[in-house]
Symmetry: C2
Subunit: 231 residues, 2 copies
């Protein structure tokens, strides 16, 4: 009965545990968060898979906690809210993608290939990323163009980070004359991005028996004009 009245007392010092997060990630206590880091990662994984399946609103915090094997309170200890958990998850995921795109580009460049080769390598890397993190991929497709959502800003910046990598390669290719300068960089980058995204999702969802090579070859053909290049 009187339970809730308590408040002020114990709290005194460390009111909201979640708030302490900032301090914890700050200068003090760097080594401490080992256990915590593992918990956060488990929560990310659980949330990504559930949200990809059901959507954000349809996924309850209880379900996330359940799948991650922690108590509900732990979710709120590690993230200030369901929304924040989701935002951090989006950022985390796109960073991984951007990294693997950049790496593909660097590898291709190191092998002395053309920019178009680099582009092709990035398509491959994109496909592999989607195959490796199908839930995350679904989630992007579902959220990337939604209007009005709270985290629209997050999504926009996140999109920008991935597209920037593609755009820079396209720009180089145009500069060196490998690609026509009629090319609209932004539009082409997003079309390529979309092509890979959707091809990967369709591959996973509706034709999972195919190999990456298979899918990659089809997309390569499309991009390199060997479909109707003669026209």
């Amino acid at each position: 009965m009187s339970i809730r009245s308590g408040r002020g007392g114990g709290a005194g010092s460390g009111t909201a545990p979640g708030a302490r997060l900032c301090a914890a990630t700050g200068p003090r206590r760097v080594a401490t968060g080992r256990r915590r880091e593992a918990t956060r990662r488990r929560l990310f994984e659980a949330a990504v898979s559930l949200i990809a399946e059901q959507g954000f609103s349809a996924t309850t915090v209880d379900e996330i906690a359940d799948r991650a094997g922690v108590a509900k309170g732990t979710v709120y200890y590690n993230f200030t809210s369901k929304n924040v958990l989701y935002e951090e998850l989006l950022r985390d995921g796109i960073d991984q993608l951007a990294d693997s795109l950049r790496q593909a580009e660097r590898t291709a460049a190191a092998r002395g290939g053309s920019r178009v080769d680099a582009l092709d390598a990035m398509i491959r890397a994109g496909l592999e990323f989607c195959a490796g993190s199908p839930a995350l991929t679904q989630l992007y497709a579902a959220e990337l163009w939604r209007t009005n959502r709270t985290w629209r800003a997050t999504v926009k910046s996140v999109r920008g980070r991935a597209l920037a990598v593609v755009e820079s390669v396209l720009r180089d290719a145009v500069a060196t004359g490998e690609l026509t300068d009629e090319l609209d960089i932004q539009l082409t980058a997003s079309a390529l991005f979309g092509m890979v995204l959707v091809a990967a999702l369709d591959w996973q969802s509706f034709q999972p028996h195919r190999s990456v090579e298979d899918v990659h070859a089809s997309l390569s053909r499309l991009v390199q004009g060997r479909v109707s290049g003669g026209a």
Copy 2:
């Protein structure tokens, strides 16, 4: 999680008027629903825009009724449940798209163009459709690859209907030798579909100042190998 137990109880007999819907669309009473048809359309429109903005679960039936300018009871008089409303809405939308793709194909054929021209016309039609029904487009992107959802079957059949149109043109083009027979029809169709879908969404969301021609030209270039065809 999925369907609310529903607890058949209360309903007892065939109380739910919405259930009569089936009869209405059946053989009997075809002319009757003029007024009703208008109400249903308004509900579709309201629901599509809200769901595109917020997602299905985050959208309440009260909001839908509000935006459509009808009473909540009317929603349940016309549709048995929120889920059913959504399913019918998906079907209705994709039918419109498939129609406009078929029409583009027919028009191109009538003008005596090649199959590749027909493909190009379909890309244009796809873009225009997306531009004309942005909410519906967003909604497809969000739902098309979601796993585990109740209406997965609906989505799958809906996707098939749109892709079939593209695939048939590709098949013809291969048969007549216009396109190489190395082409993987299914994969290419879905990649094209995705390319258009995503390009359209990106166009609307992030670069709305561009014209259809602009976007169409970029996609055409990509497909017809004028980007890196020389390689």
